[in-house]
Structure formats: C-alpha cells, structure tokens
C-alpha cells in the first residue's frame, strides 16, 4: 500500500512539473487551434443574430475562390524557390567556412549577419536594392547599359524578388546548424577515406551528406514552416501585390482577418495551412527518418 502511494506521489510530482509548460501550450497553442477549427465551421451572425453552423460550407467557398488558389500557388512556388536553394546554399557555405581558410571567423560572421538583422530592417534594405529608379540593382544594370527591371512592381518578377531576399535571409541561419554538425564529424573519417584515395566529391556523397541527414531533416522542417509563415517581408516589400502576385498564405490570412475583417475565412485558411503542414511533416518524418542515420 505504501509503495502504491509513493508511486502515486511520484506521478503527481511529475504532473506538477509538466503543468507550467502544459498550461502555456494549452493557452497559446491548443486552445487557439481548437477555436480556429471551430470558427471555420460557423458563419458569424450579423446585427446580433446568433452564429450559424454551416459545416464545411466555408471550405467549399474557399476552394471556389480563385484568389485563394493563386495565393496557394504562389506559396508553393515560394516554398520550391526558397527551401532547396537556401538549404543547398547553407550547406555550401558551411562546407566552405569549415575548411582551412584565412579570416574564417570573419567569413562565418558575414554569412550569419543577415540572420541577426530584424526582418523589417532587412526588408527595408532590400527595398533600396529593388527600388525602380534609384535602386542598387537597376543602377548597376544601368552602368552596363541594360534597362532596369521593376523588381517588385512587375507581377512576373515580383515573387522571384521576394524569394531571393528570403534565401539571402535564411541561408546563413541554416548554415549555423550545418556548421555545428560538420564540426561534430570525427576528422579521422576524412583521413581514413583519404588513405583510400577517395575523391572529395565521393567522400561528400558517401560520408558527409548521409551523416548530415539529421541536420538536413531538421532544417527542412524549419524551412517548410518558415515558408508558410511569411508576413513581415510582404508587409514592407509588396503588401502582397501587384494584383496578389506575391501574396502568400499567412499574409492572406492576415489580410482577411485584419483588413477585410473576415474572421471566418481567415480561420478556414489557417486550418488548411495547419493540415498541409501536418501532412508534410508526417511524410518527412516517416519517409526520411527511416533513411536517416542518427549517431
């Protein structure tokens, strides 16, 4: 009996230790999620009328909305444009600054600087790069005699311009994870493969890259989440324009909720985003995890 009570007490103890985190998570993550799902199933009542349960009608309306599909397509292009590029760039930079290199600390810092800058500040800097008349890019092109481009105003280039800025901002951050992982690799592995005359290229694909898979997986999930939560760049650079050419899902949620005051549509899109993220993350963990070696 005494054993039972001490066991109970340990359980209570454990539960109490978990409580603060559980309260925070419930208040700021789970409850809002449930409320959002709930909101997406109702239509608000006007002039004091009660809210009306409409089931999946909100989703049907959303899926019939061409703007939603444009935004979703933009977001897919944005994800495809930023994720592989920033990861490849991050890995390349990490390999570069992990080698023997004069002024290595300085180069590492230079690569990491964009990450330290607040998004709003970075976006403002890029505004100057992209500005049609006085911008850096167009001035450079002008000295070469090439007519400038309206980087953020032309619907066919605007999304590309936003993608380039995001890659610039993110690659340095991911580089830090790769650099840490590279420094954790035992140097004897390189030496052992050098003794067998293994080429650098072959060593990278047969040893380095597989051993970095846990990092790649982690970075991939982070990059995916980042690509789905872009608000601040767009707020400064384009406001989603021109004609929704650079509008992305979370910014569209923001517009619906705070510009159009359409909470229901905002909630519905949020649920769709959550669903897509959950599916992709599950796929990644089940498929890639099996092929990933954790040390």
């Amino acid at each position: 009996m005494a054993e039972m009570t001490s066991h109970r007490r340990m359980q209570l103890y454990g539960a109490l230790l978990l409580l603060p985190a559980a309260v925070l998570l419930a208040t700021f993550a789970y409850l809002p999620t449930i409320t959002t799902v709930f909101n997406s199933l109702f239509l608000p009542g006007f002039r004091g009328a009660p809210t009306e349960f409409v089931g999946i009608e909100n989703y049907q309306v959303l899926f019939d909305d061409p703007t939603f599909w444009q935004v979703a397509r933009n977001n897919l292009l944005y994800a495809l444009g930023t994720i592989p590029t920033s990861i490849a760039l991050a890995l390349g930079m990490a390999l570069f600054v992990n080698g023997k290199l004069p002024g290595r600390g300085f180069v590492r810092m230079a690569y990491f600087t964009p990450t330290i800058l607040p998004m709003i500040a970075a976006a403002n800097i890029w505004m100057f790069f992209y500005a049609p008349q006085i911008g850096l890019f167009n001035s450079l092109l002008g000295t070469l005699g090439i007519p400038g481009v309206n980087w953020l105003g032309d619907p066919s280039v605007a999304l590309g311009s936003v993608i380039v800025m995001s890659v610039w901002k993110e690659a340095g951050f991911f580089m830090i994870f790769y650099l840490a992982a590279l420094q954790g690799l035992p140097p004897e592995l390189k030496e052992a493969s050098d003794l067998e005359g293994t080429s650098r290229w072959s060593f990278f694909w047969r040893v380095t890259f597989p051993l970095l898979m846990p990092t790649t997986l982690f970075v991939l999930i982070n990059a995916l989440i980042n690509s789905m939560r872009v608000v601040d760049h767009l707020f400064i650079l384009t406001k989603g324009g021109p004609n929704n050419a650079t509008n992305l899902l979370l910014y569209y949620v923001y517009e619906n909720a705070f510009s159009f005051f359409d909470r229901t549509t905002a909630a519905t899109i949020t649920v769709v985003i959550l669903f897509v993220l959950a599916v992709v993350a599950t796929l990644k963990f089940t498929i890639l995890d099996r092929r990933t070696h954790y040390q």
């Binding site: 035992p186 030496e191 052992a192 050098d194 003794l195 070696h293």
Partner: protein
C-alpha cells in the same frame, strides 16, 4: 618479398611554429618487419606515423616507400593502409560497406569486391556481422572491422596508431596475438605506434623508442631490455621500471648516494647512475654481504611480490617470486655484475666501465627462479 614495402625516413622533421614535434629522425624499415614506435605521449611517435601516411606534411627531410619519394604525395597514392585509434569506422555504413569502402573508391569491380570481402571477413572472423552497423558491435569487433578494412586493400604496408588502447586488458592481449598472427600470415610491413611497453616488447621485431621528437634507441626488444641506451630507455622498458640510483665518489670507488659503505662501481662512474632491474636484485638477510638496506613495504601481486626497499634514502623495487612478508626488516642487496647498468651524467649508457662484483655471499635465502617481467 618485394622491395615495394621498404620504408625509409631521412632526417624527417615536423615543426609546429617554433617547436619541433619530430626532430630529424631517420630509420629504414625492411619489408615484412613489425616495427614499433614507442614512447611517452607527446614524443612525436604519432606525428611520425601520420607523416609516413601523408596525413601530415613533413616540414623537412624525405620519406621513401619502395623506390619512390613519397614526401609530397597525397595519402591515397602511397600504397598503404592505416588503423586508427578510434577505428574511424563510418557509422552509417554496415560492416560490409565499411570494409569495402576503399575498394569502391578505387573502382574495384563488384564481383571482386564480394570475393575479397568474403575472404577477409573469414580471416578476421566477422562473417556473421557483415550486415550490422558499427554501433551494434563490441569494441573488439569494431577493431576487427578496422583491421579488415586495411587488410582488404592488399597494400603491403599497414600503419597502426595505438589500435588497442580503447580495449580492456584481456581483449587487448587477445588482439595483440591476433594482429601479430595476421601480420606474419600476410607478411605485411607494419609500423605500430604505442605507448605501452608490453605491446612493444611482445609484438615488435624491432622497437624504436622515442623521446622529445628524437630516437633514443632503435633495436630488438631484447636489446632494449638488456642493453638500454639511456636512463630513459631503462626506465621506460620493464614493469616495474628499472631502479636508477645516483652514484657518488667514495674511498674505493663509486657508491650509492647516502650509502657509502659498499662501493658498487669504479670511481669514474661517480656522478652518473646505476641501473638494476627489480627482477635482477637479490634480497639477503642483513648479516650477509652486500648493500645494506631496509624493506619499507611489500606489494603482493599473486605470482610475485614487489618489495620497496630503501637504500641510502632512495627507494628500490625488488621483485621476488612467491609471497613474502618482509616489511620493516633490515636486509642487504646484491646483484650479478652483468645485470647492473651504468649511465653517465647526461644519462647515456656507458660501456667503458664495468660495475663492481659485489661480495655476494653464498645465497643465504634460497631464491626461486626469476620471473619474466612481461605478462604475455
């Protein structure tokens, strides 16, 4: 045996900034030899090995393998394999893929890879483990994978950098025998780095003892044990180490400092040191002739007892077989003349003088036969 596995170092030096880790060392390894680079940590033995492997570039001097000057060649072109202290196994690859890693790098055909893998796995007794990952193996098995990886390359030269230091004592003695057997069976040329004198004595055809980046002595284990070239060599080989006693000038000859009643060496030896191995000293009752001493304590080790004896304020270890309880008793010491070694003031061996014959009385204590100093 081809001459391709002959290794020759000519005044090879490695400097890190101002300090020389390896200071102009030269030696010549004949094919099929098992050579040990022995020394305390920081003596430059690993650096020497890594320069032969090409993992470290020599600051000065030349390295030849066979008739080629390999001093500036990359490691992969030197035709040698290496076993690392940490084994350097690829954690994400199976044992089989770890072993054939180098063959794949060298684009050996698949069928030949399989054939050689089967043969080598058989040789090192890993056939049942080929599909495991290194993390699922014991230390000894990992060691075997590392060995297999260097054997399968069929390079005539194998370098080993303290390969047994991560294993427990029992496994270590098994692996010592296995490596030695493998080496003679495949007639490989091996250069083996260790700080463990037991490994050096039991495995090496030849031991190169190093200190401060220089070679102290280069000879067979027998020579190192019986004719140490310096006081350092004397104290490094043997367990427990050789006793070294400072000598001062006495009336008839040199005596042990603090114990002037018996002269142990010619007068010219004063200022140097007298070295006697613990197993070469005989312990007699105080009434017998010899160097007077007192037993401080005894350490019973099972097969033998190590007595700590004080002579003129210096502690001397005496090894006796069997069990003895002698602590606190006065006694006297003697030794055969050929077992005493003299070292000069700069601690180098001197062979120009012979130690005195001690007035050794007929053996008062019946002494069991001397035990060997190395545990095989």
């Amino acid at each position: 045996m081809s001459d391709q596995s002959r290794i020759r170092l000519e005044s090879v030096t490695k400097r890190w900034g101002e300090t020389a880790a390896v200071d102009g060392i030269s030696f010549d390894v004949t094919p099929g030899q098992f050579v040990i680079l022995l020394g305390p940590s920081g003596c430059g033995k690993s650096t020497t090995l890594r320069m032969i492997a090409g993992l470290e570039e020599a600051s000065d001097g030349r390295i030849h393998i066979g008739d080629r000057d390999v001093t500036r060649l990359p490691p992969g072109d030197r035709g040698l394999s290496m076993v690392f202290q940490s084994y350097a196994l690829f954690p994400h690859l199976s044992v089989a893929n770890n072993i054939v890693f180098g063959l794949r790098s060298r684009k050996v055909p698949k069928a030949e890879q399989r054939e050689r893998l089967a043969k080598v796995a058989e040789l090192v007794d890993l056939t049942d483990y080929l599909n495991r990952k290194p993390a699922q193996l014991s230390g000894g098995q990992r060691q075997r994978v590392a060995l297999a990886r260097s054997v399968i390359s069929e390079h005539p030269i194998c370098l080993m950098d303290e390969p047994l230091s991560n294993l427990d004592a029992r496994l270590r003695s098994d692996m010592r025998r296995e490596i030695k057997a493998l080496q003679s069976r495949l007639s490989m040329t091996v250069i083996y780095v260790t700080h463990d004198q037991v490994e050096a004595m039991s495995m090496g055809d030849r031991v190169i003892l190093m200190q401060h980046g220089q070679i102290v002595q280069d000879g067979s284990p027998d020579e190192l044990y019986n004719r140490p070239a310096s006081a350092f060599a004397a104290s490094f080989i043997g367990s427990p180490a050789m006793n070294l006693l400072p000598l001062v000038a006495g009336e008839q000859g040199a005596t042990v400092e603090g114990e002037t009643s018996v002269s142990v060496a010619p007068l010219e030896a004063a200022g140097g040191q007298l070295g006697i191995r613990p197993e070469d000293i005989e312990l007699h009752p105080a009434s017998a002739a010899g160097v007077p001493a007192t037993v401080l304590s005894d350490e019973y080790l099972g097969a033998d007892t190590i007595a700590h004896v004080t002579v003129g304020g210096h502690t001397v270890r005496v090894r006796m077989s069997g069990k003895h309880a002698l602590a606190g008793q006065p006694c006297c010491l003697s030794w055969a003349r050929e077992n005493a070694h003299l070292f000069d003031a700069s601690s180098l061996r001197r062979d120009d003088l012979t130690p005195n014959t001690l007035p050794s009385a007929p053996h008062a204590v019946p002494r069991p036969p001397a035990v060997g100093s190395f545990q095989y």
